[in-house]
Symmetry: C2
Subunit: 682 residues, 2 copies
Amino acid sequence: MSRDLRALFAPRSVAVLGASSDPAKWGYMLARGALEGEHRRAVYLVNRKGGEILGRTAYRSLGELPEAAELVVVTVPADGFELAVDEALEAGARAIVGISAGLGELGPAEQAREWAVVERVRAADAVLLGPNCLGVADAGTELRLAWGAFRAGPVGLISQSGNLALEIGELAAAAGLGISRFASLGNQADLDAVDLLEDLRGHEETRLIALYIEDFRDGRAFARSASAAVAAGKPVVLLTAGRSEAGVRAALSHTGALVSDRRAVDAACRAAGIVIVSTPNELVEVAQALLTGRLPRGPRVAVMGDGGGHNAVAADVVTSFGFELPVLSNGLAQRLAAVLPANASALNPVDFAGGGEQDISCFERVAGMLLESDEVDAVLLTGYFGGYGHEAELGAARAIVGAAAASPVPLVVQTMYRDSAAARELRDGGVPVYGEIESAARALARLREHAEARARPFGVPELPDAAPGSAVDGYWGARELVERAGIELAQARRVRSLPEARTAAAELGYPVVLKALGLLHKSDSGGVVVAIEDDEALVRSFSDLAARLGPDEYAVERMAPLAEGVEVIVGVRRDRRFGPIVLVGLGGVYAEIFHDVAVALAPIDEDEAEDLLRSLRGAPLLTGARGRPALDLRAAACAAARLSRLAAARPDLDEIEINPLFVSASEALGLDARVIATERGG
Amino acid sequence: MSRDLRALFAPRSVAVLGASSDPAKWGYMLARGALEGEHRRAVYLVNRKGGEILGRTAYRSLGELPEAAELVVVTVPADGFELAVDEALEAGARAIVGISAGLGELGPAEQAREWAVVERVRAADAVLLGPNCLGVADAGTELRLAWGAFRAGPVGLISQSGNLALEIGELAAAAGLGISRFASLGNQADLDAVDLLEDLRGHEETRLIALYIEDFRDGRAFARSASAAVAAGKPVVLLTAGRSEAGVRAALSHTGALVSDRRAVDAACRAAGIVIVSTPNELVEVAQALLTGRLPRGPRVAVMGDGGGHNAVAADVVTSFGFELPVLSNGLAQRLAAVLPANASALNPVDFAGGGEQDISCFERVAGMLLESDEVDAVLLTGYFGGYGHEAELGAARAIVGAAAASPVPLVVQTMYRDSAAARELRDGGVPVYGEIESAARALARLREHAEARARPFGVPELPDAAPGSAVDGYWGARELVERAGIELAQARRVRSLPEARTAAAELGYPVVLKALGLLHKSDSGGVVVAIEDDEALVRSFSDLAARLGPDEYAVERMAPLAEGVEVIVGVRRDRRFGPIVLVGLGGVYAEIFHDVAVALAPIDEDEAEDLLRSLRGAPLLTGARGRPALDLRAAACAAARLSRLAAARPDLDEIEINPLFVSASEALGLDARVIATERGG
């Protein structure tokens, strides 16, 4: 259920509690910002000591105000926070922005204090942003209650870091973009990322949503809300932290965030169609491109420009991002040649060879022909454009804007003269302009990823209402669990002695596998012997395991014909924010060395599981390549889908893994199973 | 032998042949640039029509000048080029800059014209830059005979593209760097990249050499010259094109360049210690970092800054570039904590938690402690520094410069306020400052790669004087050639009929491999049957190959125990510019899907071959990992070294390949050999 945030972003009156006349203090900055909107709403500055602040008489308490302030900004020391909030609620505040720090981010005791406050806020049907936040801003309502000023524009920004929000704002302004609405999340004691995302989804001036989030709270709700925004035509771009151990450490010390595994975040992004980025710069790069509303339908790019060196470098860079530069058709090449000098090249890259100096209009004509051609999925103009500096160049820029607007094919521009009038003309006309070729190429690549993600939407699956099941007892319990879920495992016998092992092997038929049980990582500790060909070898292997590891029991299992297939890993892990995450990957060295895995929010169906497997870099191993046989991809997908449903129904299990799942031309057969149950308490 | 380029970069007098009073023409721009150095040397403007240019009376010919012009810039139409050069030589020119285009870049006929001119230039003991070049510039001698102006600085720049040189110049200026000496290569009819590289190596004001090159000409000489510059303490950074098919196409249409395979260029860079980059932006990024003269000795980075979000993002980005952020020792953490607020985190990232607002000096103190600590190999300051804007911040910047200068550990800075006074202070003090965190992290990563390359120098090997050997006859000729070079191959028998095959298999012992010969890619066309276990299977396989492919002859070979080892590829390919290039890689799917290969200039010795194998991502497969046995890496390295020596001695062979080379715990055994001889003529 979405909360009403009207009083937060479009208040009829504002009070700053803790306003100050000391320019070094937050209370000063906030007061000054609030006063900038004084022509739109009543602004009241409140300070216990009274006096004069920025030319206004300060009130000593909210009770003294001539009317209830709809929005109260609280910037008092932490120990006065509860009193201040209570005062605000009593005075009739509908929304409170908690700037005060030193609360829930410090630890459990302070969190308890916050929760108590939030209960009172909710009881009063008000909302609280923060505490430990840096404020809010709204371009449309001229609300400025945050650190720094933002240029107005189409980007809604939610951030858990003030400095990163500032940086995003600066980079956006340099790219000709701006911020429609900004909220600093802080400790998310009451309002969280989902509430603010829901608000931006319905906010007309916001055409794209940018997020920096460390703690996702209800991850599934977050993903659903983002998914709805994307479906409504508002792209969502997410910058997050905690993709490395040190990043987790940093986020933890910063906001006390419960940081999610990067794979869980990736899975949520895939499900919701969120574009995930690693830096503020990338965020603004891709935002520019997404705001064109045009996505490449395939990998074909045309590169154009007046400068052979720039074209050659651009061709290499664009290719390195997975694009192709097809040689253009004879017909198109001839039409291009007709507007270019004799020594120009119209193959792709289209090199004007000085044509721009002779007649600047060749830029618009070439761009137009390429955009209309149906021979490419995106066009990249690179290099010198913007450097001519004459009036005619502005005209060419306008004509390029027109050509881009008339085409469904995205056009992006890289120029060494990013601040030129022509570049501004392009940007103002909605054409993304980049200063560096790698930025332009990367933005195009992200557009293409986004196009593919939107073409095959995973969606955010519902989790069934489920209670913990019965405890899973070791290896045999794990086997039983996954077999009951419909996943076939290699036949196995439980044995405790060599005679039992010999009998089991004889029953199963050689070759067999012998496993020492009771170890977490059987393979790593040398607890698994494969390809035991005969009784003699079994005796040897058993004695060795017994001597080295002395396990209580063993499994004797049928040996799969490994040479005839490929080993994959299928697993589900539970993230505390996003719930169960399915992971599929190629097994063995592919996993260890090449880290070739794909993830999704569980549960997934068979088609999604197949998509996931096909998205692996090593997918050609499964689908058949260079004379290899095609394997039973569908069987592997079924196993993954079943495992994902099993995990979704068992919230008490932290991890379930089939590793390896042996996939041959005729089957998918689990060769090992492992379950880890949640440890409660602590 | 290096050429004397004094007259090119420090002429006592200059004439511009083709000077013009029309501001739209090159002859105007060059004349204006030449006149800017008039207080340093005599400048003569020459135009057939005489008249007045830029307030000077134009001479009608070089013969009219009062003295010989040491440097003559020729900017006349292509059909007047020979005459102009002859006139210049006759008038006593020591150096000629050929701006004129429409010559050798067009094709063989024009190349012949160029060569004739070059002969006369060399006979007169003069030098010619270009033609089809954009000029020269020298900051120290105030020589400006090129398009655009460069800020003065420590970077020597050689470029085969005028626009890219301009862009590099602009980006360098924005990074606080500048250009010491610039030469546009053009067609390299006389002076080539090697001559100019040699010149920059001896040029005192040049501290780093930046190159954009499409055609390397004598690639080995180029690599040797670059290697000498690197050894002399001048880093060499190379931007090149042609790493993709479209890039090759673009370079070809641009300068008619004979573009080298990217692997050849990579091999040369590895040999010479050249840092290779993909974009102008990367070039300037890494140049800044290299100019500090400090290289990280390992992967440990400390991240510091006042802003948890920035720190968290930086930690992730730095980690994604292969660095580690170790948790700092208790001792160091305590010393750091002593200068930071109570809620700061000194784990790494070091988060000031607002400490900078309270006392800006904590930046210099933390930086100093980290740089001195011996606990990290590089320090990265990220985020807000530069945004305080007060006088004390400048003082902190100066102190940081001092701390960086006193430490052998590199410090790099990312700030959202790249143009602030504090940022300038840092840059002027030699601390690299980046606007984006990915730039800072990438620069550090390139420094580390460079440190590793310099620690294990490959060097540029000499090629033996060698004549073509006798022709290599098919598969059996290839086998004989590599076996004579000391590389062991699987035992094989040549057969033409099924009875012969059965006899051969019986002699060799089952299992065997059967190959249909006379096909270029035996495996792709299904011409190889492995693991033939018995006579019956042999008969079946033979009949199948005979029916499908109908080859004239077959090989029956002993089957290697593939499950006990790993297949690698060892090959040597000849690049027309760089000569023979050794390539090693993991075989099969690793090569196809993961493109896991490493390259070097041939020949290499056994140690270098081992280094090459160890540099593969999949090296753990060879060296033993997660319970796998260590394989005979040395034997594989010996095979690679021997193959590289063989190839170096056989200039008539384009390609020699052992694929696969089977490596087990006890041996390296070639399972197939292939030789492609150079096709002459055409």
